[in-house]
């Protein structure tokens, strides 16, 4: 996919985009942060709608952690861009094609099984990714990673625990979580796709070489699935596109809700 071509076809409302090395770093940061923003938004939808009080609180707590992490990333990105944008405009004023999150995190809250499966498949990746990002040559990214990984270790524990409970639970819970894993499996490969910004940042020892994580990722995921008496799906073809700004049909609805206030009352604040 030619991401440069896609991006240049749209003029961002955020102002002049940084170019060259700065532009690559900027895009790299959004590639990390947008995942957490969109997943956080998805989890936020469950506020007051969780299947039980405890899971409701847990999922919104995870959402809050992700938003907190996103703020640190976007604040840094705004500083690099130096074009008058800020954490809020980056989060809420971009058109859909400028969001570069993976397709996995925008998949809907079909049922509790899908919520847990999506969380688990992302958490395993997120934890591994942050573990490596702590060693980034870029001090700010390393600091954000060191802060975030403490929180993400709790997320991973929560979602792994629920995978086992649902998988090794009742017939119905086993069936539903297996369905969710089967359906979402097609979005896992994209976690390891590398954009131009990813490749350049890896070469600079700033970014994480996700390809090196891939084997361990599937190994770790399979281990938990086995423990949960679930089958590990086998798939030849995987979905992709989010990292190039080509999203599933769900993305527009997420952004409609996320951006509503800023679009209706521009520049409003608390």
């Amino acid at each position: 996919m030619k991401e440069e071509i896609i991006n240049s076809a749209f003029s961002s409302p955020l102002g002049k985009m940084p170019k060259g090395q700065k532009g690559l770093l900027y895009n790299y940061i959004l590639g990390i942060a947008d995942n957490s923003l969109i997943l956080g938004q998805r989890l936020g939808e469950l506020c007051g709608h969780g299947p039980s009080l405890e899971t409701d609180i847990a999922l919104t707590n995870i959402s809050l952690d992700l938003f907190g992490q996103v703020r640190s990333y976007y604040q840094y990105a705004a500083k690099i861009a130096n074009n008058g944008s800020n954490e809020d405009t980056i989060a809420m004023m971009r058109p859909e094609r400028e969001y570069v999150n993976v397709l996995l995190v925008e998949q809907p809250n079909t049922d509790f099984g899908y919520v847990i499966a999506r969380q688990f498949l992302f958490d395993v990746y997120h934890f591994m990714f942050l573990t490596e990002l702590q060693n980034s040559k870029n001090e700010t990214l390393a600091a954000i990673a060191k802060k975030s990984i403490k929180e993400v270790s709790y997320h991973l524990r929560f979602s792994s625990d629920w995978i086992k409970r649902l998988g090794d639970g009742t017939q119905e819970s086993h069936k539903r979580i297996q369905n969710a894993i089967n359906d979402l499996w097609t979005y896992t490969d994209e976690l390891f796709h590398q954009t131009t910004a990813d490749k350049k940042m890896i070469a600079e020892n700033i970014g994480v070489d996700t390809l090196k994580l891939k084997e361990t990722y599937y190994h770790n995921v399979s281990e938990i699935l086995n423990e949960a008496t679930l089958d590990v799906p086998e798939l030849k073809y995987f979905q992709k596109g989010g990292k190039q700004g080509i999203h599933s049909e769900h993305m527009g609805y997420i952004l409609a809700e996320l951006q509503y206030m800023q679009r209706t009352y521009p520049n409003m604040s608390w």
Binding site: A58, N61, F67, A143, K147, E151, Y154, R157
Partner: protein
């Protein structure tokens, strides 16, 4: 390992008046969120660090610090720093006692914390009756930093401050 914060002694009485908005029995010094406070050329320079990334209390804490120093006649400049990342080890002894009296069980050591949060061992002490016959209700509680427990003896539900290292 406890990394000591770099704070001018003359500024401590002012900082000591600022409490955590979500846990009012703790001052921000007890919490260990103030990492640096020095008077440089008539301006008080302060560095605070968040407990959890998404902690909504941080903005309020920064506002409260500004108000406290303005009242005392100082100009103040507050920076939010992420590194080194906050750990529950920075909560002072006084802070841990205050937490327990307030009804929040203070954080255990990292390994014990894992056992408690996975429900492997009954080691979190009930803040109401002191019994260790307690059960995990939820790994996540009313704020990002807490988990929810219930005592099997006195039946009282209570918060546990999760270990963060």
């Amino acid at each position: 390992m406890i990394e000591h914060a770099d704070i001018d002694t003359e500024l401590i009485p002012i900082l000591d008046k600022v409490s955590d908005p979500e846990i009012p029995v703790l001052t921000i010094l007890d919490m260990g969120v103030v990492r640096y406070a020095k008077l440089v050329d008539d301006v008080v320079l302060i560095k605070i660090t968040p407990t959890y990334s998404g902690c909504p209390a941080m903005d309020v804490i920064a506002d409260d610090i500004t108000t406290a120093f303005k009242k005392a006649g100082y100009k103040v400049n507050i920076d939010l720093v992420l590194t080194p990342a906050w750990t529950t080890d920075w909560i002072s002894e006084e802070g841990r006692d205050a937490l327990e009296k307030y009804g929040i069980a203070p954080p255990l050591e990292a390994e014990a914390d894992k056992d408690a949060l996975l429900g492997n061992k009954k080691i979190v002490k009930c803040t109401n009756c002191g019994s260790q016959n307690t059960n995990l209700v939820s790994q996540f509680g009313s704020t990002a930093c807490k988990a929810l427990f219930q005592c099997e003896d006195c039946q009282e539900p209570f918060d546990y401050f999760k270990c963060l290292k």
